[in-house]
């Protein structure tokens, strides 16, 4: 059964790539992006074998390995999502034994670029530990356990996160936790940042990490190479227990999903009397699109969660300021916020999925659609940009830079709106469908996403360049530039937004049926 599921996954991947050249391109780009780094790391792992000293191997593998496990746990949640092709819900009607389904679906998680890369890394550690029979054995067992930990952990965490986010209350909990974490981390980091990290500290960190669940499997071979037989065995036993616990958790989540397939990722039983926001915004098609967008940002985790990240992320720069004391981080805070919010909706039509037909059948005019969709981002932008700008200026006591950050921020935000209006009328790349977990990316989607975002982000930066340049001048002490940046930023931003919305609207009206077909095809 396990082999059967892995084969199914391979078959699905092959058919997706055959059906969609875009996914193939995405995968190719993924190989190019990651391949170079991977080769470097592999060479490093092999060369560690020939160092006479054991310590570098221990440090590099324990810390690197723990980081890898952490990446498997965190990256799907904050960035790319997991692959939805083997959704547990789809097995609801088949009588597959639960344990086998759990193992099979986890094993199928290796099919894909991250899985292949991680497997190669683990194979390379066998070379690193080929100093003797015992370390090699430890590396093989530890490597296998580490691989299992990676895949199971990512499954367990994304499943838990999407269950949490699927209810309104869960989303509120996440939002509150996010704020608490931000507020709480700042003092913790200011303490942590006050001493310098030395090589000796690194050894200490390695010891600590080696005894955390993230490091057990990776630290064991070093003990065996060191002759610490019992310590090594203890770590391997702990790593094995971790895998067993994760498997048990994953199996339990699967059972819930399979027994109640409708419960995943939905706001069960939500109601709203009357027409809500549709009755409060202007009663035009523009107002309707704006109201619908805003309602969706509130009710749909696929939109709400990224909005939350985008809103809170710039506050993370406070740590950089705390640690490094650089006022540049404070200045960058409003700019990062404006930049991220500006072009955040560059793929907005994709989130409508095929429900977009209603816009096509109604022949809604392009300007209403373009402007209406931007409403939630515009609201967030008009709050976040001034707040971050003023907070940054107050904390760093750099009120002289405030007009510059506001001007450059306005340029980034509005240019982003312009670019997003054009791109979301051009072509949509695949996103998780309505009701699916926000942590899912169709195969090949990650590569395309990276390329599109790089191009779109670059376009925004270019459009905002005049204001950014003036802002840079102000930063380097030319006080007049700060006051010039404000009108220049606002003017170039408005110009870019007006042109972008116009062009986007014309494209949109012409290409509505084609956009719908794109969405029908990726469904």
């Amino acid at each position: 059964m396990v082999a059967h599921l892995v084969r199914l996954k391979l078959l699905l991947l092959r058919n997706t790539l055959r059906r969609s050249p875009a996914a193939l391109v995405g995968m190719g780009l993924g190989v190019l992006y990651g391949g170079g780094i991977l080769v470097l790391v592999l060479v490093g792992l092999v060369s560690l074998r020939f160092l006479p000293d054991l310590e570098p191997s221990r440090t590099a593998l324990t810390l690197g390995g723990a980081f890898l496990v952490l990446a498997w746990a965190v990256v799907p949640v904050v960035a790319f999502g997991t692959d939805p092709t083997l959704d547990p819900n789809r097995f609801a009607t088949f009588a597959v034994p639960e344990r086998q389904l759990a193992i099979g679906l986890a094993a199928a998680g290796f099919i894909g670029l991250p899985g292949v890369a991680t497997t190669l890394l683990v194979l390379a550690t066998f070379v690193t530990w080929s100093r003797g029979v015992l370390p090699l054995l430890g590396a093989v067992v530890g490597g296998a356990l580490a691989l299992a930990t990676c895949v199971l952990l990512s499954r367990v965490i994304t499943a838990a996160a999407s269950t949490l986010l699927s209810s309104r209350r869960g989303r509120d909990v996440v939002a509150v936790l996010g704020f608490v974490a931000l507020v709480g981390l700042a003092p913790a980091l200011s303490v942590g940042g006050s001493f310098e990290l030395t090589l000796a500290d690194l050894a200490g960190v390695t010891t600590v990490v080696g005894w955390t669940p993230l490091g057990w499997a990776w630290a064991a071979p070093a003990d065996l190479a060191d002759g610490l037989l019992l310590t090594g065995l203890a770590r391997l036993v702990l790593a094995g227990a971790l895998v067993a616990v994760l498997l048990l958790l994953w199996q339990r989540q699967l059972v819930t999903a399979v027994h109640d397939p409708r419960s995943s990722a939905r706001d069960a039983g939500a109601t709203e009397s009357g027409i809500g926001l549709l009755g409060r915004l202007p009663g035009t098609s523009l107002g309707a699109v704006a109201a619908r967008s805003a309602i969706y940002w509130r009710r749909d985790p696929r939109l709400g969660f990224p909005a939350l990240i985008t809103t809170l992320f710039p506050a993370g720069l406070l740590f950089a300021w705390h640690l490094g004391g650089s006022e540049l981080a404070l200045v960058a805070m409003p700019l990062a916020s404006a930049y991220m919010l500006g072009w955040g909706q560059h793929n907005d039509v994709g989130y409508d999925s095929t429900a977009f037909w209603l816009h096509v059948a109604s022949a809604v005019d392009g300007v209403s659609d373009r402007l209406g969709r931007l409403f939630p981002s515009a609201v967030l932008g008009t709050i976040c940009l001034p707040v971050y700008a003023v907070v940054g200026a107050a904390l760093g006591d750099r009120w002289d830079l405030l007009p510059a950050t506001l001007g450059a921020g306005a340029a980034l935000l509005l240019a982003g709106f312009g670019v997003a209006s054009v791109t979301s009328a051009l072509k949509q790349y695949p996103v998780p469908g309505p009701g699916e977990s926000p942590f899912r990316t169709p195969p090949g989607g990650a590569g395309i996403t990276l390329v599109v975002q790089a191009v779109v982000g670059l376009a925004v930066l270019l459009l905002a360049l005049p204001a950014l340049a003036l802002g840079a001048l102000a930063w380097f002490g030319h006080a007049w530039a700060a006051w010039v940046a404000l009108p220049v930023g606002v003017a170039t931003g408005i110009g870019a937004a007006v042109v972008g919305v116009r062009v986007g609207a014309r494209l949109f009206e012409r290409r509505m049926p084609e956009l719908l077909q794109d969405l029908v095809r990726v469904r």
Partner: protein, 276 residues
């Protein structure tokens, strides 16, 4: 408007009178329509005239090209070749004017299902540029007429398949179109709801509107349609008044005649054994 729930009569939004008599163009005229997906020809040159005031049934086996034809007729899918006119307006040359006269119920496409039923119908009306007070009143009446009162404040994602069809029909009706194009409107709809929908559609046609619907339930088409076209393999095999197409036989027999295909089942003997 006071009193009980009413079905909106066609053409109240556009202000012009009911369809009959205000022109000679057919409600829907399709000429040489063709669509190919990759190597597969879905629609291979279809001509069709839907007279005003008719209740037109489109029947055909699965994969015959019904949905593709209806999508192209309503401006959702761009044809490779051919033309579509709705009441004399070219759908692909002047989509805005043409779409204002059409109400659509597509099959197999999603809805904005995070809205409540009432919100969705209001949204559909507002997208059409209607006055909000007007939309809210009509949406309320439609929801009541379709028996969705209790569910009006629930999210559409929690609706059953039949309720989803009904709320989509409300979206198609809210702007008072003169032509209704419905793809499989009775699929997954229970008998009571089907009767409600049939009643609304009949009154709509009596009021001068035109309905085009696709179905593969022959009995139903025979019962409610005045005209019928049989489509198979991307071609129209027969079209015209129901009685002319039937030519004395039942629609189902005529359909099987034209479409071909054996109804004999071979094999499957194991399915009939009750041994375990």
């Amino acid at each position: 408007m006071t009193g009980g729930p009413q079905t909106p009569s066609p053409a109240t939004a556009s202000g012009t009178g009911p369809g009959i008599g205000s022109g000679t163009d057919p409600a829907l005229r399709i000429r040489g329509l063709r669509k190919q997906f990759g190597q597969t020809v879905a629609v291979a040159g279809i001509d069709l005239d839907v007279p005003r005031g008719s209740f037109y049934g489109l029947v055909g086996p699965n994969g015959a090209g019904k949905t593709t034809t209806l999508s192209m007729a309503t401006g959702l899918l761009r044809p490779d070749q051919g033309s579509v006119h709705v009441l004399g307006t070219d759908v692909w040359a002047d989509p805005v004017a043409a779409k204002a006269r059409i109400g659509v119920l597509p099959d197999g496409l999603r809805l904005f299902d995070r809205l409540t039923g009432l919100q969705l119908v209001v949204y559909a009306g507002l997208l059409r540029g209607m006055d909000r007070d007007d939309v809210v009143q009509r949406a309320g009446e439609l929801v009541a007429a379709l028996g969705l009162d209790d569910a009006a404040d629930k999210l559409v994602v929690d609706y059953s398949a039949g309720m989803t069809k009904k709320v989509t029909l409300a979206c198609a009706l809210v702007h008072g179109p003169r032509l209704l194009v419905l793809d499989e409107p009775f699929e997954a709809v229970d008998p009571v709801s089907a009767k409600t929908i049939r009643g609304i559609l009949s009154r709509y046609v009596e009021g001068g509107g035109t309905v085009v619907l696709s179905s593969h339930v022959m009995d139903l088409v025979e019962r409610i349609c005045t005209d019928v076209a049989i489509i198979a393999g991307g071609h129209v095999r027969a079209a015209g008044r129901l009685d002319d197409v039937r030519a004395g036989a039942s629609l189902e027999d005529r359909f099987l005649d034209l479409v071909g295909g054996s109804t004999d089942v071979k094999g499957l003997a194991w399915l009939h054994t009750s041994s375990d």
